[in-house]
């Protein structure tokens, strides 16, 4: 699976206790889109699993569909408030004038690019040639061509996974912690948690101009992070992921903000 590597790896490094990690990366000159811009939101890639007591993630289709619907609604609401002109495509064949294959190819390329950004900027495998601040990744001509054909200025790609911990597991967790105190630490069976990333691509250049990762985790089940199956939870994730788009480093420096 394209995203399996990241998700699995992150599952291994779920943070202690409960916390939310969010980190944004942007082109140095990036300014969040405002005013009359046209935004294409690519098929949000959403999966909601129920983590049963045995630790087996059970992909719950009904939860997934719920979450996806709420995420799409939250995206629409958020973008409407921003005053942009947004189309959110739920299926590859919904983009007029563009074939499914073209959409699919762009999704695949982005998966490789998105995973690379996560790996090399967020997860620690730094590349010395990449700037410390700023983002230096692109989707290239394929994205520019899409923009030309459809007239959109930006494309937003989104990936979200959530693991909802069942109550049977809560009981076990207590056991595990107790075990730790006695001296034997039961390894983390993976609490609940979200992993999501969003990237904004400027379709004039094909460059990824903004990228955000949200990782929430809890080894202590019972600490909830806004269930994305509910409208509020989905809105919260969308807000964390795409709401506070900060300008790029040089723009912030120039305007004296940080």
């Amino acid at each position: 699976m394209r995203h399996l590597g990241i998700a699995l790896a992150l599952a291994l490094s779920v943070p202690v206790a409960g916390c939310v990690q969010t980190r944004q990366f942007a082109d140095l000159q990036f300014t969040p889109p405002q005013g009359d811009y046209r935004l294409l939101v690519m098929r949000p890639d959403v999966t909601v699993n129920s983590v049963t007591t045995g630790g087996m993630p059970e992909p719950r289709a009904d939860w997934t569909e719920q979450a996806r619907a709420h995420i799409i609604a939250a995206l629409r609401a958020q973008q409407a408030a921003r005053g942009g002109n947004v189309q959110i495509i739920a299926r590859r064949n919904e983009l007029r004038g563009v074939s499914e294959d073209v959409v699919a190819d762009l999704e695949r390329l982005h998966a490789a690019v998105g995973n690379s950004i996560a790996l090399h900027k967020y997860l620690g495998a730094y590349l010395p040639t990449k700037p410390r601040r700023g983002l230096d990744y692109t989707l290239g001509a394929e994205a520019v061509e899409l923009g030309r054909r459809t007239g959109y200025d930006y494309a937003l790609f989104m990936h979200a996974e959530d693991n909802i911990v069942s109550s049977g597991r809560v009981a076990l967790q207590v056991l595990g912690v107790a075990g730790c105190i006695v001296g034997f630490c039961a390894p983390n069976i993976g609490g609940g948690g979200q992993f999501a990333y969003a990237s904004l691509v400027d379709l004039k250049t094909g460059d990824v101009v903004w990228f955000n990762v949200v990782q929430t985790g809890s080894q202590i089940a019972g600490l909830k992070f806004g269930d994305i199956r509910s409208p509020q939870g989905a809105a919260q994730l969308v807000e964390r992921l795409t709401g506070r788009m900060k300008p790029g480093y040089e723009v912030r420096r120039a305007t004296g903000r940080s």
């Binding site: 990241i6 390329l109 690379s116 090399h120 730094y126 040639t129």
Partner: protein, 210 residues
């Protein structure tokens, strides 16, 4: 010549479990070091090349039994997107990657009497068994001088299990019974074209050292 997953997990094992690990500068370039724009020795040192712009080379360790001394990997944007690999002075009966004797599917060993078609077949099996290639196509095989010897240029593309098409070029020659080869492999969309020029410059600059 490895795809990412192992690196990913290794990185994560080191990434601190805690809210501080949002990817600050802490770990630094643990996995990669900088290739500067000057003549440098690659692989086991028997070949020198000059990159036209800075690249990243994968750090290897003499303690890692999985690294093959004669093979070295570089990347510009990360191995999911682009790769250059160097094989320097690989001897008869050696492998280009580490593999256990008991693995079901194995990359063939290099033999000094291999012709270009056999060497390219060895690379193809590498892609099919190690790089997750579902489909592999030879685009062309032609003679080419390399390091002053009669060698070959191999152009290919492959569809991998992440459903992404990648394209590559390898230039190599067998000299004194040893294999010298430079391989470039990148996502077919944008990334191949982005660095093929670098690859050609690197090949042109390649020199053998005693």
């Amino acid at each position: 010549m490895t795809r990412t997953p192992k690196l990913l997990l290794a990185a994560l094992a080191l990434a601190v479990a805690g809210c501080s690990s949002t990817g600050g500068g802490g770990i630094g370039s643990e996995y990669y070091s900088l290739v500067r724009v000057r003549s440098i020795h690659v692989g086991d040192g028997s070949m020198a090349v000059t990159a036209p712009r800075p690249w990243n080379r994968t750090r290897t360790s003499i303690f890692s039994f999985e690294d093959v001394r004669q093979v070295e990997d570089w990347t510009l944007n990360g191995p999911l997107l682009d790769n250059i690999s160097f094989i320097t002075g690989l001897r008869n009966n050696r492998q280009i990657i580490y593999q256990r004797r008991t693995e079901d599917r194995q990359v063939p060993r290099f033999r000094s009497d291999m012709s270009a078609p056999e060497i390219t077949a060895m690379l193809e099996t590498f892609f099919r068994t190690r790089a997750g290639s579902i489909e592999f196509r030879t685009l062309s095989l032609k003679p080419r001088l390399f390091l002053g010897a009669n060698g070959f240029q191999f152009d290919f593309e492959h569809l991998d299990s992440d459903e992404l098409w990648r394209r590559g070029r390898a230039v190599g020659a067998v000299i004194d019974g040893r294999l010298y080869l430079i391989l470039f492999d990148a996502a077919r969309s944008h990334y191949y074209a982005n660095s093929i020029g670098d690859f050609e410059a690197i090949v042109a600059s390649a020199r053998r050292r005693r």
